[in-house]
C-alpha cells in the first residue's frame, strides 16, 4: 500500500474528542481492526500519593506538539509496517474527571499484526516527547505534573 494514501491525523484541540468520527477517519476499505487508547482525567487516584483531583489544566507548545505527533506516527509506521491509519489527538484546556483527554488510534487489516502494540507505543512516546503539560488542581492545592523523560539528540 502506498504510504501517501494512509490517513494520519494529529491534532491539539479544545473540543471534545469524538471517537466515532476519528475511527471513521482512519478506516480504509482494507481495514479490519482498530486499537484505540484513550486517557481520561482521574478524579480519584489510589496509586502512589492517593488523592482526589478537581480538574486538570493542559497547555501545549502547539506547532511543535503537532510536529512531534507526526514524528510519533512516523515511528509507528517504521516499526509496524502493517499499520494503515493513525490518529493522535490531545485535548487541552480545563478538563474534569471522566473526560477523555488524549486518543491514539491505530488501524490495520487484521488484529494480529501490531495494532495493540502500536497504540501502546504511541501513548508512551506522546508522554515522552510531545510538548504538552498539565497542572492538577485538587482540594489540597495545585501543582504541575512533571514527566521524567529527557529527550535525546535526534528525538
Amino acid at each position: 500500500m502506498q504510504p501517501s494514501i494512509l490517513p494520519t491525523i494529529f491534532s491539539i484541540t479544545e473540543d471534545e474528542i469524538d471517537l466515532n468520527a476519528l475511527l471513521s477517519q482512519v478506516t480504509l476499505p482494507s481495514t479490519g481492526a482498530a486499537a484505540i487508547f484513550t486517557g481520561m482525567v482521574r478524579g480519584e487516584t489510589r496509586r502512589g500519593d492517593a488523592h482526589d483531583t478537581d480538574y486538570l489544566e493542559y497547555e501545549a507548545y502547539i506547532p511543535m506538539a503537532e510536529e512531534k505527533m507526526k514524528q510519533v506516527a512516523d515511528e509507528i509506521r517504521a516499526k509496524w509496517e502493517s499499520i494503515e491509519g493513525i490518529a493522535i489527538v490531545q485535548r487541552i484546556g480545563k478538563l474534569y474527571p471522566k473526560t477523555p483527554t488524549v486518543l491514539i488510534a491505530c488501524t490495520a487489516a487484521h488484529r494480529d499484526t501490531g495494532v495493540f502494540e502500536a497504540a501502546r507505543y504511541g501513548i508512551d512516546r506522546l508522554k515522552e516527547i510531545v510538548p504538552i503539560w498539565k497542572r492538577e488542581v485538587s482540594p489540597d492545592g495545585q501543582f504541575w505534573v512533571e514527566g521524567d523523560y529527557i529527550p535525546k539528540p535526534g528525538e
Binding site: Y58, E59, M64, Q90, T101, L126, D148
Partner: protein, 82 residues
C-alpha cells in the same frame, strides 16, 4: 548579534512571568550560554535553568548547540501530556 524569540511553558512560564521574550544574543552563543545568560538576567529562572528542556526551531537542542539567527527557542520542564 542574532535576534531570537523565546517561548516559555508550564513552570518556566510561571517563573518567568511571561510567555515570550525577544532578545539579541551573540552570534556564537550556545544553548548552554543562553541558559547561563537567562539564569543571570532573570533570577527567578536561575534554578529552572539547571533542568530545563530547550528546543531550537521545534527540535530538542543540547548544551553545545550553537543558536542560529531568528531561532524560535522553547524552554520547558519534562513533558506530562496524555
Amino acid at each position: 548579534m542574532n535576534h531570537v524569540k523565546l517561548l516559555f511553558f508550564a513552570t518556566i512560564r510561571e517563573r518567568a512571568g511571561t510567555r515570550t521574550l525577544e532578545m539579541d544574543i551573540p552570534e556564537d552563543m550556545t544553548v548552554q550560554g543562553l541558559k547561563e545568560k537567562l539564569a543571570n538576567d532573570i533570577p527567578a529562572l536561575k534554578e529552572s535553568m539547571l533542568s530545563v528542556l530547550v528546543t531550537v526551531n521545534r527540535e530538542y537542542a543540547f548544551d553545545e548547540a550553537v543558536i542560529p539567527p531568528n531561532a524560535e527557542i522553547g524552554m520547558f520542564p519534562p513533558v506530562s501530556g496524555g
